[in-house]
Symmetry: C2
Subunit: 191 residues, 2 copies
């Protein structure tokens, strides 16, 4: 067997990830994933005993990818803590403006699945918390007085910007958020 065949699980995961994101989790059935990934149904169920488990695995896979991407992109921008904070919305604006953007997959999943007990819901909560921890660190470095409150306000802005990008199909939310964030930073430094 070649490497390709021994990575059927990976192929399924990536294919499902793309399809779920592009069309919506509830709009893509497992037969579509099978057809697009080129694996047999037996194989899919061998690795993912149910659709819910596939969804969960996909969300975890995407969360790991997104976190990695975000941390890397942010760390490569800005020279000062404040710049780095603001640059996060430059990173996001690029994402929102990309042709394949179809919303934040972690927000999408929670609302599409509409079940707070689903494991994918917890993945979203965990990801938000990891974003918040990044922001707390950057905010503290920038001398923000209350990094905890600031990080929660940050989550509001990032959520709102993502929604604006999704609903109004405009990446400008990132710029509005950046402007607001700059005001919040200045209001919370130096007093």
């Amino acid at each position: 067997m070649t490497t390709e065949i021994s990575s059927a699980r990976q192929q399924i995961l990536e294919t499902a990830s793309d399809l779920f994101y592009q069309k919506g989790i509830q709009h893509v059935g497992i037969n579509e994933v099978i057809a697009a990934s080129g694996v047999a149904k037996r194989t899919l169920y061998r690795w993912f005993p149910s659709k819910d488990l596939l969804i969960e695995a996909v969300m975890q896979y995407r969360a790991a990818q997104w976190s990695s991407w975000f941390e890397t992109a942010v760390s490569e921008r800005g020279n000062t803590p404040k710049e780095r904070l603001l640059s996060t919305f430059d990173v996001l604006r690029d994402w929102y403006a990309s042709p394949s953007f179809r919303g934040c997959p972690f927000i999408n999943a929670v609302l599409e699945i509409a079940d707070a007990s689903h494991k994918a819901h917890q993945v979203s909560i965990d990801l938000r918390e990891s974003i918040r921890q990044i922001i707390i660190r950057l905010a503290a470095e920038a001398g923000v007085k209350n990094p905890d409150l600031f990080s929660r306000q940050y989550l509001l802005l990032i959520g709102g910007a993502s929604l604006m990008a999704t609903i109004e199909q405009s990446p400008d939310g990132a710029t509005f958020a950046q402007t607001a964030l700059s005001v919040l930073i200045d209001a919370n430094i130096g007093d």
Copy 2:
């Protein structure tokens, strides 16, 4: 026929509205709406020739209700323009804290339907615009220098707060947003 029977359409609309909101649009089939509303299938299809048309009608119905409720609640609070702006998040916090809260129906619908060409998507866009117009008016009254930008930042905050309430099941996002909004107001007045 009694009044009750002549309002079958209204009964369907209200029942579907509740079910779609509580369980998710894609998770409720028309047979469930029929069973819960007590109308015949023939009657449902008489008034709503397809599920999509029912969804559209429901979203329009909810948008009218929501707008009315929001305007009224806001107009009854605050004595100054700034207070009125901030009070919007008091109104929203109460909503987020209510037992039946399950997210913003207009955000939910867009993400659940996952089709930008669906009429319900436009309903959400229009509602956001109507919120924005309310905020532009209040902001101008408060002396905010750039009501347009401010109103867009407001949309970010209201979207983010709704998501926080939905995903983290915490109404505190409204408080964080209120704090941020207060800073934004102060930073945009008087210079």
